[in-house]
Symmetry: C3
Subunit: 317 residues, 3 copies
């Protein structure tokens, strides 16, 4: 009785190996033929160090001259990203008929193209940093924003992933933004187009869909959804404009939902907390929900309405 596991190991292994032979999607296991999520997370770490060189450092070796360590960091990132892109291209309909040699060359070209976008991305991130510091009275310094704000982390990873998305690299952009989603609770699809000076406060629960367009100087708070309307269309809707367009200088407060590809929020609008919008709003409009009607009970009495003393008050837990 003491060797139950030992006696069952071979049976268990055989059962599981046999379970891999059903030819389902989960059974595909061509070795080393797809991007590796953990390598992509390492690439994100590297890119954070390249974006903010004085803030995130490699502490595994002593650095005297930043230039030297930056050279090594960039080379390492080029090498890893190139390899992952080459693996990812096999999932692109654009390269269905390409041979391995063509993919090899194309992956290198895309990797180099991506790196040439980095100064543009860094210029945008400087505006995001400024917007976060200016917009939040709880921000004591810009260093605090860079080292701790989830909103800046999410938009950094999103802006990088968006460049790969624009280069039509499959899989990797989404793996990157879902990693940001995992660490910040902020779910921005890499396809979304976002202007400069973008500020996300708190951020948990934010969803920004693939075909969303956001102007300059926009602020959004926790729980905001920029989403799609659907009648269970599923895959048939792929590629269509399904998500809203947000103008410059718009603020969208916590819990608001703006939905649909035809919804355009004009410049300088302010969308209040918990507002639910499926249409366009003209420029310069403030939108709020009407004052919520509340019930107040004190013991068996009520303040503002007749009340059934036997009414049960329930609460969600």
């Amino acid at each position: 009785m003491d060797k139950i596991i030992e006696n069952n190991v071979n049976d268990i292994v055989d059962t599981i190996l046999k379970d891999y032979t059903h030819d389902r999607s989960i059974d595909k296991m061509k070795l080393f033929t797809q991007p590796d999520r953990f390598v992509i997370i390492k690439i994100i770490d590297n890119l954070m160090k390249i974006m903010y060189p004085g803030y995130f450092r490699d502490t595994s070796h002593k650095i005297y001259i930043m230039e030297n360590s930056t050279r090594v960091l960039i080379e390492d990132t080029l090498f890893r990203l190139n390899k992952q892109i080459e693996l990812a291209l096999k999932y692109s309909p654009n390269y269905e008929n390409a041979d391995d040699c063509e993919l090899h060359v194309e992956a290198q070209r895309l990797t180099v193209d991506f790196f040439h976008t980095l100064p543009k991305v860094r210029a945008l991130l400087e505006t995001d940093l400024q917007a976060a510091f200016d917009g939040d009275p709880a921000a004591y310094s810009k260093e605090e924003v860079i080292l701790s704000y989830p909103g800046l982390q999410a938009i950094t990873i999103n802006r990088l992933a968006h460049e790969l998305f624009l280069l039509n690299v499959p899989l990797i952009p989404r793996i990157m933004t879902e990693y940001a989603h995992s660490t910040t609770g902020i779910d921005i699809h890499p396809g979304a187009t976002i202007g400069e000076y973008f500020f996300i406060d708190h951020g948990t629960g934010i969803v920004v869909g693939e075909t969303t367009t956001i102007g300059n100087n926009v602020k959004i708070y926790q729980g905001v959804t920029l989403g799609a309307l659907s009648t269970r269309g599923g895959q048939k809707l792929q590629g269509k404009k399904r998500h809203p367009t947000i103008g410059d200088n718009v603020t969208i407060y916590a819990g608001a939902s703006i939905l649909g590809g035809d919804s355009i929020i004009g410049e300088n609008c302010v969308i209040g907390s918990n507002v639910f919008i499926t249409t366009s709003i003209p420029a310069g409009t403030k939108v709020n929900i009407k004052n919520q009607e509340l019930k107040y009970h004190q013991g068996k009495k009520t303040v503002n309405e007749p009340v059934d003393p036997d009414e049960t008050w329930f609460y969600i837990i």
Copy 2:
């Protein structure tokens, strides 16, 4: 003045060691007598590799023959899980009078029983994968879903934890699902019973309670709560059916709450965003909130109602 810490180390250590002698719950420290959260996270990583063998790999060594590495992986997982279960069983009221030898045998039996459920779990996960791909126009490939979707990650860990829950293993199932909660924002109790073709989109903020039952082909979106109603009953409610029952082919949109153990949502229902339900809904019903009444202001004018020009408009930040 330069050696403040050095001069205070012994005093600090003594103060903290003394603080451990108050016999409170936080002071319990019988060595190696309880499950280790970090080992359980390692077990989850292993199980992800066993569930999706071609997608999550051990990159620490070169693999030529998948079968060989799978054998090692399964043996390692059996060994670790067995040890953690043996530690956890001491917390089960079912084994209060068992001696160490009985626990040793029982842990092995439960470990083997758990592994025999894996093909059944994998068959369910294939349906979840299909549901996610079919339901989301932003999904470009099934590989993208496996490698990046938090919903599939959460349901994978939940289905595994649920099998351990059904075997009455204490502690470990909840540590597993709270790890999924931490990485995905999706909080599903391991006790919840969930049918095939289950799809979670976005997912942040979802809460599914312990005694929830969910049918086949159900979709839920971010911020949905399948929760309990309570009058601060606390521990007295343990084990009672407190959470709703959801029929087949039901869709529950973002932010909806369905509450209470007597609430049954019939087959083919559609529950709209932000709906708050504490009763049953007959099969085939669509439920929406009535159109929200909104206030629109432009400068000092309003579009749809008389307005006090001195009214202050506040926003949550």
Copy 3:
């Protein structure tokens, strides 16, 4: 064509290094002059082991005598935290004119002062643990709460960060609480003042602002915001009381928002799900939203109102 990356490495490196010379905030890179986020995460791990010595252990070496390993752990944490505080003090307006020697001494003093608060913090955590176990029918044991509940993890890190905040240590407290935010979805500013027996259930999406005050025996659920009201005041509001005051024995259910520095929720209040409050509430009051008016459709018929049979029903995705 085969060496595209090799041929472009130097150009890419030069472009990025040149991009670092624009003298923007993101270009600051004085070596080793600011706190390191990853070291602070290591310090948090150590502090979790010091707070709950029997629950989170260093598994990298065998432990026979807990006292010995605790001594090493405390020394390591003192050393690391002291170094990070010394780096952080340069960001404090209080030490603008201090020389390196003064900072060196001050950092040691603050480190020692922080460690002397740990028994007080542990006493509070024991009350939080008790509140979580008493309040949640899904909690099977206190061990389960310590090993898996995100609410206890968040309040533990928050109480530690709050002590550093009270000592006016810059940067580090916020990095600590944003780490907790990342792993739990619970965003509590280190400035918030929180009484004993504090219980957070589920927790994802909770936001508690910097100047919030919370009494004893308070429970809050997922998605609760204790936030500020603003008219885009930004940095001008720094340091002002902007967030609410919550009395003893108050329960705040999922999705409720309580906003503004003048809002005081009296003792023994119960705030229902999704309530939105910007004023004070007298002690002993229960506040709920009025019953939501819902639309029910079955095929082309409705149950409770006339309906346009051609009306399109949309859903957010």
